[in-house]
């Protein structure tokens, strides 16, 4: 049995040859381009990425992240619903984390069995009481969105630990405007370059109390991390230091960085190091990328760590199945975005339903990321399923099962042809403690092999630029001609300019 691609919703075409309204302009423009033109620009794109070092580490090798020419376009109205749904979800998860590392009311009320929380691999008792009063726990989040066969957007997963991919959003847009600028002509696309400034502001606001001009740093595990490029980009675009664990030293519960002029205090750490490697005194003692004493400094509230320690319990995939209930419980609202139909395997009935039909379901580890450990039932061989069955019986808490969704498709340039390929979407949200802001755009990942449903870059995925439109429909060109493009008061003032100067060998007045 396989996933039937004809079941999937196509983002661009509603029927063969019939483009959906938001894609009409781009389908026209593409129709005018010759394959050889497209090929040439692709090559240019590849060179640009290779030169700029826009890469991810794949099996120890730095590879350019493949970017597809055809953008994923999201209309303004649909984006409105999507971003509101993401905001709602992030707020609920924030409240949940505050509760489980605080009073634990949702556990006392029986909303979630206590053992489900305490048995989560990412539940950290150490996290209790170390978040400053006004700092959010989830400064940055990524919510993976898919579109099912009937066109509904659903949440596939949450990532409130260290979501990555924003650098590709920024770099993809830059590359697209350079290589395929003509595609943008008839669209008003929201820019994505606001992200670093928003993140920096959120980090500033989360500084410990009493610190007026906080020093913010980005903490990276180092150059060998798969997302190192992203760490560099964020540090650069925010204008802050990119530090490694060895650059930081904790003295008297205060974090300092070692500079050429001695030590300088650090107040906010946007860390891209996982919890378990963060502080060898509290977590893995063999960590060489962490900072000894960091957890104590955070507890002494001299430094803010973003995202907070212990957030992983909120994106545990078993907790994911409770998120709609968390939204109702904490926000008293109905969820705006649905989950994908999921099965809790610690429930005996569900477990047996799934075990009886393993070939129908997607089974994933509750604490996995990067597509690791996922088994897609319809695409798995018998040996894998046998092994999976044993794993599930031994540790039902360790996995969840989901209905196999034929992800929506977007035409993608593969071997000089446009072929439908499955995509997902990862929007990014920033919580500055006052509001949750969702970047208009996101990372559309595309599974390049035919029929593949796992889009992670580590599994042969590529990406597409994602356009969130400011207008409901493409601008009406006829009307745009009639309307003045700028008001007279904004016209450039006339300035008397000095004549250009030339050297002795240039004839005066020549206009070279």
């Amino acid at each position: 049995m396989d996933v039937d691609p004809s079941l999937a919703w196509d983002e661009v075409f509603s029927a063969p040859g019939v483009a959906r309204p938001v894609y009409r302009e781009i389908v026209d423009v593409l129709g005018d381009l010759k394959t050889v033109d497209i090929r040439t620009r692709y090559d240019q794109l590849g060179r640009t990425f290779a030169e700029r070092g826009v890469t991810f580490a794949f099996g120890g090798e730095e590879r350019p992240f493949p970017l597809d020419l055809i953008p994923r376009i999201i209309a303004a109205t649909e984006w409105g619903v999507l971003s509101a749904g993401i905001q709602q979800r992030v707020k609920a998860l924030e409240a949940f984390l505050d509760d489980v590392y605080g009073p634990g009311e949702c556990l006392n009320d029986g909303l979630i069995p206590r053992h489900v929380v305490t048995s989560s691999p990412h539940f950290r008792r150490e996290a209790t009481g170390i978040v400053p009063r006004f700092a959010p726990r989830i400064t940055v989040s990524g919510v993976d969105i898919i579109r099912d066969e009937s066109g509904n957007l659903r949440v596939l997963e949450d990532d409130v630990r260290i979501p990555s991919g924003i650098s590709y959003v920024i770099e993809n847009r830059r590359a697209m405007t350079q290589s395929f600028g003509s595609l943008f002509t008839n669209y008003r696309v929201h820019p994505v370059d606001e992200y670093p400034a928003r993140l920096l502001r959120a980090l500033h606001l989360s500084a410990p109390e009493g610190v007026r001009d906080p020093t913010v740093v980005v903490l990276t595990p180092g150059v060998h991390n798969a997302a190192y490029f992203e760490h560099v980009l964020l540090a650069r675009l925010m204008g802050v230091e990119l530090v490694e664990g060895s650059d930081l030293v904790v003295v008297a519960n205060k974090v300092n960085m070692r500079t050429t002029q001695g030590e300088r205090p650090v107040h906010v750490i946007y860390r891209r190091v996982d919890d378990e490697w963060l502080d060898p005194l509290h977590f893995r003692p063999d960590s060489v990328v962490g900072v000894a004493g960091l957890v104590n400094a955070a507890r002494a509230k001299t430094v803010t760590i973003a995202n907070a320690i212990g957030n992983g319990v909120a994106d545990d995939k078993l907790i994911y199945t409770y998120v709609p209930e968390l939204i109702r419980y904490f926000l008293n609202e109905e969820p705006l975005l649905e989950n994908v139909e999921s099965y809790r395997l610690d429930d005996v009935e569900s477990l047996h339903e799934v075990l009886d039909h393993l070939e129908r379901y997607v089974v994933k580890p509750v604490d996995g990321s990067g597509g690791h450990g996922i088994v897609i039932g319809p695409q798995a061989d018998e040996a894998t399923l046998v092994e999976l069955r044993a794993t599930l019986l031994a540790n039902p808490r360790g996995h969840i099962a989901q209905r196999t969704v034929a992800l929506s498709t977007v035409p993608t340039f593969v071997d000089d042809q446009l072929l439908p390929r499955h995509v997902d979407l990862r929007p990014f949200a920033i919580n500055d403690g006052r509001e949750v802001w969702v970047l208009p755009g996101g990372l559309t990942r595309v599974a390049l092999p035919q029929g593949a449903l796992v889009v992670n870059s580590s599994r042969g995925g590529g990406s597409k630029d994602t356009w969130v439109l400011a207008d409901v429909v493409p601008i009406d060109l006829e009307r745009a001609h009639v309307e003045p493009t700028s008001s007279p008061s904004l016209a450039a003032p006339k300035v008397q300019r000095e004549a250009r100067q030339y050297g002795p060998l240039t004839q005066s007045g020549s206009d070279q």
Partner: protein, 317 residues
């Protein structure tokens, strides 16, 4: 530039400057030797090649045959050794990759694109000879130097990079001249050395207008204005340290490196050019130790300051 930069980054930047300069200078030196061998088909190229290795401080097996191929393998194309041109460039790339957020995109792209192009350049060199590869390296180094000057603020980052470049240049200029001492008959002649240092035109236009060894050695070591002369490089290094000292609070330690540099600089400043050739061996050794000693002093005072450890009790929750 009064706040201090991350010590780790300062060290990486400093070495980026050194490695790019090393790739550049080594390619100049190798070019001069390759030229020498080509021009002198009756000479013993083995001895010439051996003197080149000795010049660059590299060991070669006394019994093995040393040919131009050995030179190309070990001094040009070896990707593992930072003493080889390719290795030095890759080391510069690896350093730059770790400091991408403090150098300009253009500087980073320059090194990244150079690295991406190395394999193709090597293929071309295997068809048309090493000169094209050496020229490629020199041009990319020049591009990097130009971008360094034009695309980042001349703040602490820049001073560390220039400091690294200057110390490397002092060392390499000394090594360039070493060949004349080891095996004068088998090393490039004085004019080739001038050319290798990119100093031919400057020398010819200088007031000296003589082409005897004494004047050439004096130009490469003592000239006040030529940017690759040992004296000029010492002056630049001293100026860098002066700028960095102003930002510093640890005057005592920093002065150590300046003292090393300035002592040697004064020695050259008051040297009689006529006696230079007599004390050439001593001067070249002095320059090499100056570069090495200053490097160690800079490392311990700026990059690897020792921090005293203290213990704190846990904070209650």
């Amino acid at each position: 530039m009064n706040r201090g930069m991350l010590a780790r980054l300062a060290e990486l930047i400093y070495w980026t400057g050194r490695y790019v300069e090393r790739a550049d200078d080594t390619s100049r030196i190798v070019d001069a030797y390759v030229h020498r061998i080509a021009e002198d088909p009756f000479g013993d190229s083995g001895v010439t090649c051996r003197s080149l290795f000795a010049t660059l401080g590299m060991d070669v097996d006394a019994n093995a045959s040393v040919t131009i191929e050995t030179v190309l393998d070990r001094l040009v194309f070896d990707a593992e050794s930072p003493s080889a041109i390719t290795g030095a460039l890759l080391a510069a790339y690896e350093n730059a990759r770790r400091v991408r957020e403090v150098i300009s995109s253009e500087m980073w792209i320059c090194l990244n694109a150079t690295r991406n192009d190395l394999a193709a350049q090597r293929d071309e060199a295997s068809r048309v000879g090493p000169a094209s590869y050496l020229k490629f390296i020199r041009e990319r180094s020049a591009l990097f130097a130009g971008l360094t000057d034009a695309t980042i603020s001349h703040d602490e980052t820049w001073w560390y990079l220039v400091l690294g470049r200057s110390l490397e240049r002092i060392d390499m200029t000394a090594r360039l001249l070493q060949g004349r001492l080891f095996a004068a008959d088998h090393s490039p002649d004085w004019l080739t050395l001038l050319r290798a240092a990119g100093a031919m035109e400057s020398y010819l236009r200088s007031a000296v207008r003589r082409s005897d060894p004494e004047a050439i050695a004096a130009f490469l070591l003592l000239d006040r204005e030529f940017p690759r002369s040992a004296y000029h490089s010492l002056t630049v290094a001293d100026h860098c340290l002066d700028q960095l000292t102003r930002a510093s609070t640890h005057l005592d330690i920093v002065n150590e490196a300046r003292r090393t540099i300035r002592t040697t600089q004064s020695r050259l400043e008051y040297m009689d050019p006529k006696t230079l050739l007599n004390s050439l061996a001593e001067i070249l050794t002095l320059l090499e130790t100056t570069s090495a000693t200053a490097n160690d002093q800079i490392t311990s005072s700026y990059f690897r300051q020792v921090v005293a450890t203290s213990w704190m009790s846990e904070v209650g929750t």
